[in-house]
Each structure stands twice: as C-alpha cells, then as structure tokens.
C-alpha cells in the first residue's frame, strides 16, 4: 500500500505533533519514576513509553512508513528477535538469582565486584559458599587461611 501523499504543511504538522508527543512522554517518564508505585509497574510503564517513543521516531522521522513491506520486514525482524531474546535472558537471570539467593546474597559484592575473589570458597558444584555456611567450618582452618593470605 502506498501511503497517502501529504502537502508540505500537513507534513510539518505531523512532525510537530510527534515532537510534542515525544516531549510529553519524556516528561511522563521522568515524573513516573519518582511516583510511589511498585518497582515492576514503574519499569513496565517506562519501558512501554520509551519503546513507543522509539517507534514514533522510526516510523515518522525516519519515514519507515514510506518504505516497502520487504524493507520493513528485513529491518525490524532481527530487532524483534533481539528484543525477545533480551527479555528472556534478563528475566531468566533475575529468576536464577532469586532461586539461589541463599548462595549469592552477601557474597555478591565480592563475587561480582571481583574484590578479594581469591578468598571466596567454593562448594563441590563450584558455587560460592555464603558467609553463614563458612561459620560451620572448623575455626582453626579459617584462621590458617587468613594467615596464609596475609603472608
């Protein structure tokens, strides 16, 4: 389908309308992140707002609406795949952390921060042992390790 041909004035009107929508959505985003709402609701609202902003820029300013269907498919399909891939991997990482929170929490700063990484202890599966679990170790072994580290 070929798009309707607009006069120059109509074009300008559409450009300014998109500009005001983009500005309004930006202000909405900045305000909504400070609102007393649950974190997940804020995240979803902000992501939807920003994706619609990006879509408006691509569709109107980059004139994607004037291109053929074939070009649209070629350009947008990989980006859609990348988007869903990202959502899947990030949600998966979040869920894994929640499932193994007893292992990672408390040790994460040292583990992910790469600080003192040589003194973290691993269990038989290669997971970091949480500090609470370390207390179960014989105290003598603990001190020996510390001394060895200081030397």
């Amino acid at each position: 389908m070929s798009p309707a041909i607009h006069s120059a004035e109509d074009k300008r009107k559409i450009y300014w309308k998109v500009f005001f929508i983009l500005t309004a959505l930006t202000i909405f985003e900045v305000v909504i992140v400070q609102a007393p709402l649950p974190k997940l609701a804020i995240t979803l609202l902000v992501v939807v707002a920003s994706l619609s902003k990006a879509f408006a820029v691509g569709w109107i300013y980059m004139h994607l609406n004037h291109e053929t269907k074939g070009l649209k498919v070629i350009l947008l399909f990989p980006l859609f795949v990348a988007f869903f891939y990202a959502v899947y991997l990030i949600v998966d990482a979040k869920l894994q952390i929640r499932r193994h929170s007893n292992v990672y929490v408390g040790e994460t700063k040292r583990f992910w921060g790469q600080r003192n990484i040589e003194d973290r202890q691993l269990d038989e599966f290669g997971n970091t042992i949480a500090p609470e679990a370390k207390k179960d170790l014989p105290s003598g072994e603990h001190e020996e390790k510390n001394e060895a580290h200081q030397k």
Binding site: T26, I42, V46, A54, V57, Y61, G70, L79, Y85, K109
Partner: protein, 229 residues
C-alpha cells in the same frame, strides 16, 4: 546486466525479488512461466538509503547486545544501586530533549530542502549540528563530574564496578555515534552551502537524517534503561 537461459530458476527468482526489474531479461527467451515481473522489493528507496538502513539495523543489534549484557549483569547483582542516586536525571532529561529537538530540525531541514527553500534548509541544518554539539558538551560535563566522584571505566567507589563499566560503555558508544553524526552533518552542511542540494534532490540529506534520527532513537532507549529504571 544480462541473465542468460543457463542460470537456474531459483537464482533468477532471487534476482527478480531484489532488483524488481525485467528490463534486461526477456521472459519469452527461457520460456519458463515463473519469469513474470515481480513487485519491486525496495520501492523507490535508493541504494544509499537501503545501505544506511541495513547499517542502522546491524548497529541497533550492537546496541541491543550492550544493553542485553547490562541487563544480565544488573539482574544477577542484587546490590546494584539505584541509578538516580549517582546519575543526574534532570541533566540527561535536558540532553534527551535537546536530541529530540535536533531530530525535529533535521526533518524540517529536509522538508525545506524539498521545497527548494535554501535559507531554511541551511538554518535548520545548523540548528541540528548545534543540538548535537550541546549534547556532547553536556556529556563531557557529566563525565567530568562522575570521574570526580570516583566512577571510572573499570571501578566505582560506591558500588559494583559493573555499574560504572556498563554506564560508560553504553553512553560512550552512543556519544561516539553523536560525534560521528555531528561530523557527518557538518559535511552535509558544507555541501548544502556550496549548493549541491539546490535542485530539491535531498537523497543525501535524507540518508544523513536517517543516521541522526537513529542516534536520537537509541538515546531515547538508553536514557530509559540506564538512567531511569
């Protein structure tokens, strides 16, 4: 280009799909029924425009990869700080607004050029370049402040260093795009000044505009994912 009858039908089909033209081919020659004219895949888009679009699509995938890595590092780290504690949201919101403004001036420059309004075209192009430069200025100011607060590419004094690394990686990569875009637009401005676009053929300006709008589009997403969430 001439395709003779020895080429197999599949290759011919692909050729028609992409080129959309049968001017160099005679359907009756090979006598195959599949050689009728197919609709042109890319319409009136010029080669340069298709090239820029495909570059932008792959560039978008690069940004997607960076944001994906950022998302995973953040999701796996329960001690990730709230970005609003360390990053100036007000300042970057102003930067976002400046980029949106420069996007509008870019399309207006193109529209003016299509009407052969040379004066407005040059004015809007100059405003676009000015917008890009002010964005870069804001970014330099922001980086200076962050470095003074102990946030550098490989370490962060007040939290996990990945917070600093991902921030500088994504915004730095984007900032480099803005810098390239400013240089690109300056070239276009120079050509417009010499009078290359006086005949209303705005193809080159449109391609530069595509790049510029893409930079704006990516910043809209980066602003949300790095600064706001």
């Amino acid at each position: 280009m001439k395709i003779n009858g020895a080429v197999d039908d599949r290759a011919k089909e692909v050729y028609f799909l992409v080129m959309g033209s049968t001017s160099a081919v005679h359907p009756g020659h090979s006598g195959h029924p599949k050689t009728e004219r197919k609709p042109d895949m890319f319409g009136s888009a010029t080669n340069g425009k298709i090239g820029m679009w495909i570059f932008l699509s792959t560039d978008g995938l690069t940004f997607a990869g960076f944001l994906l890595g950022y998302g995973i590092l953040r999701a796996r780290n329960p001690e990730w700080p709230d970005p609003s504690h360390f990053l100036g949201i007000g300042l970057s919101a102003i930067a976002t607004f400046i980029l949106i403004c420069s996007s509008v001036t870019m399309v207006l420059a193109q529209a003016a050029g299509e009407e052969k309004n040379r004066k407005n075209m040059l004015r809007f192009l100059a405003l676009t370049i000015l917008g890009g430069m002010s964005f870069l200025g804001i970014q330099v100011y922001e980086y200076t402040h962050l470095v003074h607060e102990g946030m550098i590419f490989w370490d962060f004094a007040k939290g996990p260093p990945q917070f600093a690394s991902t921030f500088f990686l994504v915004t730095g990569f984007h900032g480099f795009h803005v810098f390239s875009g400013v240089v690109y637009l300056m070239t276009i401005f120079g050509r417009a000044l010499v009078g290359k676009y006086n005949d209303g053929n705005m193809n080159e300006v449109e391609i530069a505009g595509l790049f510029w709008h893409f930079v704006d589009l990516v910043w809209i997403l980066v602003f949300t994912f790095i600064y706001l969430i």
